[in-house]
């Protein structure tokens, strides 16, 4: 596993951390890395989206969810972390009017996406407290925030040619319903967050059901047209 030096690891909101590592491995928006900073426990590395890439640096935004992310939260500049990536398909090349919809930590991939496609509108839903909104406002003409409600209620799909979504499953389901009533295809894409083991398409533990048969969240995805995904 490649080892990267941690340049920075700061809390940006309660339980939300931004880690900057020195690495030239780069990547495209919507791709992810597998990270680990432990030997045996937990056993697996953890998939984390690219939050930003700049020169020889990669940034990850993560929420403390369990054992692994808790270990990271205690790392300091100068510590090292194992990194493999970039993995996954990333977002497609967009065309037309573009919107990003992020639920909670699901906003992570959209910062880097905005840097590539700065014209996009951004919809962010938080359960308790908003964070990093400034960052998004610097890059996006329109940032809509919702706290405690349903951000998906605020978006009119008809306004956009392409809508990319990342967030908790209920949010993705809501987007799937919206999309189904609009009857469009190839417009709304979701980035899935299934548990992963190998991260590269070899073990099938992240396999999802789609209208096109089984697909691997890690290597066929994590980004899929929402109408393809069969949520279980």
């Amino acid at each position: 596993m490649a080892t990267a030096l941690i340049l920075d690891n700061i809390q940006v909101s309660p339980g939300i951390f931004l880690m900057t590592v020195q690495s030239g491995m780069g990547g495209r928006p919507g791709q992810f890395y597998m990270l680990r900073s432990w030997r045996n426990s937990p056993l697996l590395s953890r998939p984390i989206s690219i939050y930003d890439v700049e020169d020889e640096r990669v940034q990850f935004l993560y929420q403390v969810a369990g054992e692994g992310t808790r270990i990271w939260s205690r790392l300091r500049a100068g510590d090292e972390i194992g990194v493999e990536g970039p993995y996954g398909n990333g977002f497609p090349e967009p065309s037309g009017r573009l919107a990003f919809v992020g639920g909670g930590i699901g906003l992570a991939p959209f910062n880097y996406a905005l840097k590539h496609w700065p014209g996009a509108d951004v919809y962010l839903g938080f359960s308790h407290e908003a964070y990093l909104v400034r960052e998004f406002e610097r890059l996006s003409p329109k940032v809509i925030i919702d706290i405690g409600g349903y951000i998906t209620d605020r978006i009119d799909l008809a306004e956009y040619d392409q809508v990319w979504v990342c967030g908790p499953e209920p949010m993705m389901l809501a987007m799937q319903r919206l999309n189904a009533s609009a009857g469009t295809r190839g417009k709304v894409y979701v980035s899935l967050e299934n548990r992963m083991a190998c991260g590269i398409g070899a073990c099938l533990v992240c396999s999802i059901r789609t209208s096109e048969g089984r697909k691997k969240a890690c290597s066929d995805g994590p980004v899929f047209p929402v109408e393809e995904v069969v949520f279980e």
């Binding site: 083991a197 073990c203 089984r214």
Partner: protein, 310 residues
């Protein structure tokens, strides 16, 4: 010169590091990260005669030093394997193993026959796509009485007989640690003409979601692999090696060159590496190098010097 070669029937492995079925796809993905010719061999994802969707619901859960999986033999079926994967295997300079599963005697038999026919054709072309069949008699869901083929020796005997008859390829039988009488099972395989054994497959195990008050897996039980099982797997390999004389591919939780040596000292001909592939992307390459380094350090020139020494 350090000699790490191993042999099962007439198949020679350049070293004992073989990637375990189900954890390495068909090798394509890992080939992008290191040269597969560093490996002694690789065993492909378990194949069945017909394509399988695998299990629905959650497929993976971490336990203390272990991994529960419930993939359920998702695979493209033998025909698509032959069409899409076998050509990728042909030029590989490593031992290529087809892992064969099944859900009925007939399915096993037909599967083996199909593999045999393709193998003969490809050998006629002077280009073999695989060297060995690994017969997996430990898949969890089967028709007859809901009891896996790998639990009772006499049920398993039937499968081994049928497949042995259906193929001229060297045959390794992969045993389940859930077998009632593991040593009896191993002896049966030897009697029925298997060229080798591989063990262990995953341990039947369970995780309950106490908030939802149900098993985490739709199949209720799942298979446990990883470092947690290593001490038990090592004992099983040792016990089997003491009892039989065909070569054994030992596995279960191997995660270092030292672990590899332990299995060889317990009597294994080769090892297999499963879950550790997920922990270290380049596990195969690293273990092969680590093994040589260890041998050099300890002045071991050939694995034969230490095999079964314990």
């Amino acid at each position: 010169m350090i000699d790490t070669a191993c042999r099962i029937a007439d198949v020679v492995f350049k070293n004992p590091i073989v990637m375990a079925s189900g954890t390495f796809g068909f090798g394509r993905e890992y080939a992008r990260y290191y040269d597969l010719s560093k490996l002694g061999g690789l065993s492909g994802k378990g194949l069945t005669l017909h394509p399988k969707e695998g299990n629905s619901g959650l497929r993976v859960w971490e336990t203390s030093s272990g991994l529960l999986n419930s993939v359920g033999l998702e695979n493209p079926g033998i025909e698509r394997f032959l069409a899409e994967e076998a050509p990728f295997w042909e030029p590989l300079n490593t031992v290529r193993i087809v892992n064969l599963g099944g859900h009925s005697y007939a399915e096993y038999e037909e599967g083996a026959a199909l593999l045999e026919a393709y193998s003969l054709r490809s050998r006629v072309r002077g280009q073999a796509a695989y060297d060995l069949i690994e017969l997996n008699i430990s898949c969890p869901n089967v028709k007859e009485g809901g009891m896996a083929y790998g639990i009772h020796t006499e049920t398993a005997r039937e499968v081994v007989k049928l497949v042995r008859r259906a193929t001229t390829l060297p045959l390794v039988v992969k045993l389940s640690p859930n077998a009632h009488d593991l040593v009896g099972m191993a002896a049966m395989c030897e009697e029925e003409g298997a060229d080798g054994l591989s063990l262990v497959n995953t341990f039947s195990a369970m995780k309950i979601d106490i908030r939802k008050r149900r098993s985490v897996f739709q199949n209720k039980y799942a298979g446990l692999s990883g470092p947690a099982i290593k001490p038990i797997a090592l004992r099983m390999v040792h016990e089997v090696c003491q009892a039989i004389s065909i070569p054994v591919m030992g596995m279960g939780g191997i995660s270092s060159a030292e672990d590899v040596i332990e299995f060889i000292m317990a009597g294994a001909e080769t090892v297999q590496i499963g879950t550790h592939n997920f922990v270290h992307l380049r596990a195969g390459e690293e273990l092969a190098a680590g093994l040589e380094a260890f041998m050099r350090l300890e002045g071991i020139r050939s694995l034969a010097e230490i095999r079964g020494i314990v």
